[in-house]
Amino acid sequence: MQVKLTGPLRSAAGGQASVEVEASTIRELFRKLCEQYPGFQAHMDNGVAVAINGDVFRDEWSTVIPEGAEVFLLPRIQGG
């Protein structure tokens, strides 16, 4: 599936706006991203959120990514 990268996360993939990763859960997605793009680990340490079909998941890595879903990776940010 195509995973779209936003903001500073693109630097982990050489500036690409999207990368191809096959994953059925957020956990698998993160694991494979770190394998394919070692620079991604630094972003993981700072926090990464995943938007799946518009819903933002920050913590639940067991979340299933449906086939054909739109997947965006975002920096994890703070609220007040």
Binding site: G7, G15, D55, V56
Partner: protein, 754 residues
């Protein structure tokens, strides 16, 4: 708007009613215990010595005379706080260094030492006996100046992230980030009108009335207790334990009542030092910040400098939009500009959009979250420019916004595609609101603006305990910052089918519940509400089982309805329903105590939008501005307790109005804060404001069982722009700097007439 229950197919019994808040009596009678209200036998008074310099090397720090003063039980400097416990974690090291300077003072007010003494008089005397030899270093407090090539570089370890090639020199710019989609250059070529403008916003403080305060009590065996005003006692526990090398489970943190936080109480400031003092003195230590300390040394929001460019066609369609957000984050790197860039154009449906952020380090206190952090400043710049474009096109500003509003299926400017959202409905409601049609008088102007906030969920843990008389204790781990004990009690009562008055909600301490994330990101009612629903449904399963046991029938033949267990079927027609109280009265014979709990991650918080309308009257002689009418229209998803939803709408608007008109950190050329008090840093009081009208819309969040969205933060996003647009319309001059203070209005009028 009538509640939309189609997607849940539910009719609510108590949800949506305006019951009395459970903490109300205590708060109005003074019984409520805040951060400064705890005492312990033998407690000491903790106080801080703070840097009078914006940037200085600490050449020598001699505490020997202070330590010898009678009544002084402990003195702490950075030498007492080894960085080894941080394990090389840069974020933890920054927290530790912010709590106590390590070799350099990085801003006016930075703590350099702390004492614990038998009373305040002795503590103050001890602070005066501490001898410090400073070497003043060049400083910078303005975000644009800090980005200049000749600016003093504050940290030799900060290199700009997000630029290629990677820099080989340190910089005050800690991060550059970019968001967006489409081709903005091509989009601007399609535009008939292009407006480009630069804006600045002053640094503001959350202005919570209760200062930071805590009572720390460490035992020689390594266990300890911390009573503290906080938005997240679990986070405080974890951070304090990590940087002090304590065992987390042995540090019990209890959150007091909170006298306002608004993001400023999501970070530790005095707490690790209070624990360190207590550990060294082997006595309880109480620390209460003065107001001056709160301003100088807690975490205000960023000052900013923002450029916005918007192009549109004659028929009112935006063809391209860009923003460049430069935010100062205080003395340590943050991601505040990044958030500003992400939120900049969130309300709009744009084919071509690009937002760029620069996070910048300055010699100011470490920036903390402030209610929808970073979004109000970006909205000020964008919404002001949106008004200018509409004006140039001769289109009503609200019609222009409706034409370009994001909707379900729109790709947001920060990336993902929106699900069901409420920006369109809030704009439609604003357009038809009587406020929009009311006539204006002389020197009066009207403005409107939109706002967006993400909303978060997060780790949450909730427990329901059933008492022997059928009343229920609800323990939640999200600090109640705005009435959530009432809304969560309503949810518990709704699910169990019992009266609201039968539920008593508490904020559980860190030893009583599993981890809970902080009350931030407007998550309190959303996340703990979901956890309460699950916990209640689990409690019902237990209650049904107990009824089945008592009736000696299979549990499958029991259903729960209206707060009672009912035996289902003709065979059980002789069995009267068993109420929760009747089941609770016999727990010893049916299996023991009854409880239900839930621990989970509440992801799927729905994004939130608002539209605000503001009328002002400006005195052209003095530049003084009064807000004469203000209306907030916001999507709440589902309002559990409408009073407190409206309260959040009103509170955010009030803070935003203060930010827009009055509030600003003022630094002298020496880099020292000149107005660290409520006399010179003026937040609005009731007499400054009109009654703030509210309208709740309910566009359900499909990820929550009742459709709830967070409501606490979005309401502070539009006011800066709404007020600026109103003032600009009143005086006929575009105001581009916040706060829009009388001198700035007079200067703008003078410049226009010249």
């Amino acid at each position: 708007m009538k509640q939309d229950t189609n997607f849940t197919n539910q009719e609510f019994r108590v949800i949506g009613t305006r019951v009395k808040r459970p903490d109300g009596i205590d708060k109005v009678t003074g019984r409520a215990r805040y951060g400064a209200d705890a005492t312990a036998p033998g407690q000491l008074v903790g106080m801080f010595l703070r840097s009078p310099h914006a940037h200085a090397r600490i050449k020598k720090l001699d505490v020997s005379r202070a330590e010898k003063l009678q009544g002084v039980k402990a003195v702490i400097t950075s030498a007492d706080l080894p960085d080894e416990h941080c394990g090389g974690d840069r974020e933890l090291l920054n927290i530790l260094e912010n709590c106590m300077a390590r070799g350099r003072a990085l801003y006016d007010g930075h703590a350099v030492a702390a004492v614990a003494a038998v009373d305040a008089t002795t503590a103050k005397k001890a602070l005066k006996l501490i001898k410090i030899d400073y070497e003043k270093l060049p400083h910078v407090t303005d975000v644009d100046e800090a980005m200049q090539a000749d600016a003093p570089v504050i940290h030799d370890w900060v290199y700009t992230v997000g630029v290629e090639p990677q820099p080989n020199k340190p910089s005050n710019v800690s991060m550059r980030a970019q968001f967006g989609h489409g081709d903005v250059e091509a989009g601007f070529k399609e535009a008939d009108v292009i407006i480009e403008k630069s804006y600045k916003t002053g640094q503001t403080h959350q202005g919570y009335i209760e200062p930071h305060a805590c009572l720390a009590n460490m035992s020689p065996d390594g266990s300890g207790e911390l009573w503290v005003t906080t938005q997240g006692h679990f986070a405080y526990r974890n951070t304090c334990a990590q940087i002090l090398g304590l065992n987390m489970a042995k540090l019990k943190v209890t959150s007091s009542e909170i006298g306002g936080g608004f993001g400023g109480k999501t970070h530790v400031w005095i707490e690790p030092i209070a624990l360190a003092l207590s550990r060294k003195a082997n006595r309880p230590v109480k620390v209460v910040m003065s107001r001056e300390e709160v301003f100088r040394a807690s975490g205000p929001t960023s000052s900013t400098s923002i450029d916005v460019k918007i192009g549109a066609t004659k028929d009112g369609r935006i063809t391209a939009a860009t923003s460049e957000c430069r935010y100062q984050g205080g003395a340590f790197p943050g991601t505040w500009a990044l958030i500003g860039a992400m939120t900049s154009f969130a309300p709009y449906d744009l084919k071509n959009v690009q937002t760029v952020s620069y996070d910048v380090v300055c010699n100011r206190p470490k920036v903390a979250a402030y209610r929808a952090p970073s979004a109000p400043m970006a909205a000020f710049a964008v919404e002001s420019t949106v008004d200018l474009v509409a004006q140039e096109l001769g289109i009503d500003p609200i019609d222009f916004r409706i034409l370009n509003a994001a909707k379900e299926g729109t790709q947001s400017s920060y990336g993902p595609v929106y699900g069901p959202i409420g920006i369109g409905p809030t704009l439609d409601a604003a357009k038809s609101h009587p406020h929009m049609k009311a006539k204006l008088g002389k020197n009066q102007g009207r403005g409107m603006a939109c706002g967006f906030w993400f909303n978060f969920g997060g780790q949450t843990s909730t427990t329901i305990n059933v008492a022997a008389d059928g009343t229920v204790n609800l323990s939640v781990g999200t600090v109640d910052v705005g009435g959530s004990r009432a809304s969560l009690s309503l949810i518990c009562a709704e699910e169990l089918g019992i009266p609201y008055e039968q539920v008593k909600a508490h904020i559980g301490d860190t030893a009583a519940l599993a981890h809970n994330d902080m009350t931030d990101g407007s998550r309190g009612t959303f996340a703990s509400g979901m956890a309460t629903i699950v916990a209640a449904r689990r409690t019902i399963e237990v209650l049904k089982q107990r009824a089945a046991t008592a009736w000696e029938i299979p549990v499958e033949e029991v259903e729960w309805k209206d707060g009672c267990a009912h035996a289902v079927g003709e065979a059980h027609a002789d069995k009267a329903p068993l109420s929760l109280a009747e089941i609770a009265a016999n727990t010893e014979n049916t299996g023991g105590p009854i409880a239900g709990h839930n621990e989970f991650v509440a992801d799927g918080a729905g994004v939130s939008f608002a539209s605000h309308i503001c009328d002002v009257e400006v005195d052209p002689e003095t530049g003084s501005t009064r807000v004469i009418r203000y209306t907030v229209i916001q999507d709440a998803g589902k309002a559990i307790h409408p009073d407190y939803v409206e309260g959040q709408f009103q509170g955010g608007a009030a803070q935003g109005i203060g930010w827009a008109l009055n509030e600003e950190y003022i630094y002298g050329d020496d880099g020292r804060l000149q107005n660290p008090g409520f006399l010179d840093y003026r937040i609005p009081v009731c007499s400054d404001l009109p009654f703030i009208d509210t309208q709740i819309l309910e566009i359900p969040n499909p990820n929550h069982p009742y459709g709830v969205r967070g409501v606490g933060e979005t309401s502070i996003v539009p006011p800066l722009a709404a007020v600026a647009n109103a003032v600009s319309n009143a005086v006929g001059v575009r105001m581009t700097q916040v706060p829009i203070s009388p001198p700035r209005i007079l200067a703008a009028l003078d410049a226009e007439s010249a």
